[in-house]
């Protein structure tokens, strides 16, 4: 026999017609009322008619009784429906992707690797890495601005020393090229440089085109040679200047921080 509560006992003592329940047929109710002073008083009051629907509207009372009987039965029958629900398609795959198929969840090494890649893929990572590298550079090698200052002060000397030999070589090559392109001296008695008057028309046209190309090329090479001379003069690539030292002069030394 299961024990019942006061609420259950009081509900059992009532029925919709307002009569008391038959206590003889409810041993659990009898046992409860026998051991509960509050329910005994409640039952006596009810039997005397003192309660007689005064406190509780009929509709609430009916609801209460129905809720405790057929309603409760229905709910207890239906409630297992809530134990399992379909989460929808793809839910298990989604969970697996977030757990066993996710490298970040496999172990501490994978987690560290995943954290590293997450950090590296941040947009600001390149800036941060450059900042750290600069700080390390300055701490280890000193202020790089000193070297830049020295380079700026000595760039002319360095250029003169390094550029003079190639300038001379290229100039010599250009001269040789110009000599190759120059018109060959005409043989004595060969007549005019132009095509012979009795040559076929095609040959004369071809010869004229070749002559025109030769003159144009010669002009272009001449322009290039002049430009190159101008650059060489600007850099001071004269033989007397070629031996200038590239060693740092008495300028500001590279400072260390």
């Amino acid at each position: 026999m299961s024990a019942i509560t006061c609420d259950q006992a009081r509900a059992l003592m009532l029925d919709p017609e307002g009569s008391t329940a038959d206590l003889a047929h409810r041993p659990d109710l009898t046992a409860h009322v026998a051991g509960c002073a509050g329910c005994q008083d409640w039952m006596h009051e009810f039997q005397r008619g003192a309660l007689a629907w005064a406190d509780v509207p009929a509709v609430d009372f009916t609801d209460e009784v129905l809720a405790r009987t057929s309603g409760l039965e229905t709910v207890m029958r239906d409630i297992p429906l809530l134990a399992e629900m379909d989460p929808g398609p793809g839910f298990a795959e989604r969970v697996l992707l977030a757990t066993s198929k996710n490298p970040a969840a496999r172990g501490w090494r994978a987690r560290v690797a995943a954290a590293w890649w997450t950090m590296v893929r941040r947009p600001r990572f390149a800036w941060e890495a450059a900042y750290v590298a600069t700080v390390c550079w300055v701490l280890v090698f000193g202020n790089p601005v000193g070297a830049i200052e020295w380079s700026a002060a000595n760039i002319g000397t360095v250029a003169r020393e390094r550029m003079a030999p190639p300038v001379r070589e290229i100039r010599a090559d250009l001269e040789a090229w110009r000599a190759t392109l120059a018109p060959e001296p005409q043989a004595v008695g060969a007549g005019a440089a132009g095509p012979r008057a009795d040559a076929p028309a095609v040959a004369r046209i071809w010869q004229a085109a070749v002559e025109w190309m030769r003159q144009a090329s010669s002009s272009v090479v001449e322009v290039i040679v002049r430009a190159w001379d101008a650059v060489a003069a600007l850099l001071g690539a004269e033989p007397g200047d070629a031996g200038a030292s590239t060693e740092p002069r008495d300028g500001p030394a590279r400072s260390r921080q």
């Binding site: 309603g71 207890m76 379909d86 989460p87 969970v95 757990t99 066993s100 969840a105």
Partner: protein, 190 residues
């Protein structure tokens, strides 16, 4: 669910068996989703919450208790995650009343669709009625009556005295029944 199967699955998961974990997820997804839904009251939120619970379980799979202690532990973890989730959600956005029509799943127009629709309707009604209960009563009904935990286990999970669970369980059921009836009448009238 076969308890022996579950115990074996749990043991294999604890040993790091990926196939066992997949089987575990497929077997318990309906149950944990249902629990998450009881707390979240919204299908999308419940999916997120159920996923969070699974992730938490996966992270702690080396510490899973063995045998009969597993299911109560699982529900404790799920319940704690759900409470955290609701707390976060309440900060993120105001709680909304559950629309019982939205709770009912859309039935398939397939054979047996009518029975499925009726079942879905009853489930929706129960969920809506559960929403009306106080938090403690709702949790007692969910853990005790829906998921079949013992009174002691429910008391332990909720951190309340045994007597509180005993006295509230019966009252909560009656209150739930009254709410279901009221909602049914409301639907009938509408």
């Amino acid at each position: 669910m076969d308890a022996t199967d579950l115990t074996s699955l749990v043991d294999r998961c604890r040993a790091g068996d990926a196939a066992a974990w997949e089987a575990f997820v497929r077997r318990l997804q309906g149950r944990l989703f249902a629990l998450a839904y009881s707390y979240a009251g919204d299908r999308e939120d419940a999916r997120d919450l159920a996923q969070e619970i699974f992730v938490r379980l996966y992270e702690a799979r080396g510490q899973w208790p063995a045998g009969d202690e597993f299911l109560p532990w699982l529900f404790r973890v799920a319940r704690n995650r759900s409470v955290d989730y609701l707390r976060r959600r309440s900060v993120r956005r105001p709680a909304v009343a559950v629309d019982e029509a939205a709770v009912a799943e859309v039935p398939d127009p397939a054979p047996g669709a009518e029975a499925q629709a009726i079942e879905s309707d009853r489930r929706g009604l129960l969920h809506a009625a559960l929403r009306g209960l106080s938090a403690i009563n709702r949790e007692i009904v969910i853990l005790r009556d829906v998921h079949g935990l013992s009174v002691q286990q429910v008391a332990s999970i909720l951190g309340v005295p045994l007597g509180t669970v005993k006295s509230r369980a019966s009252r909560a059921r009656v209150e739930l029944a009254a709410r279901v009836m009221a909602l049914s009448r409301g639907r009938g009238a509408a």
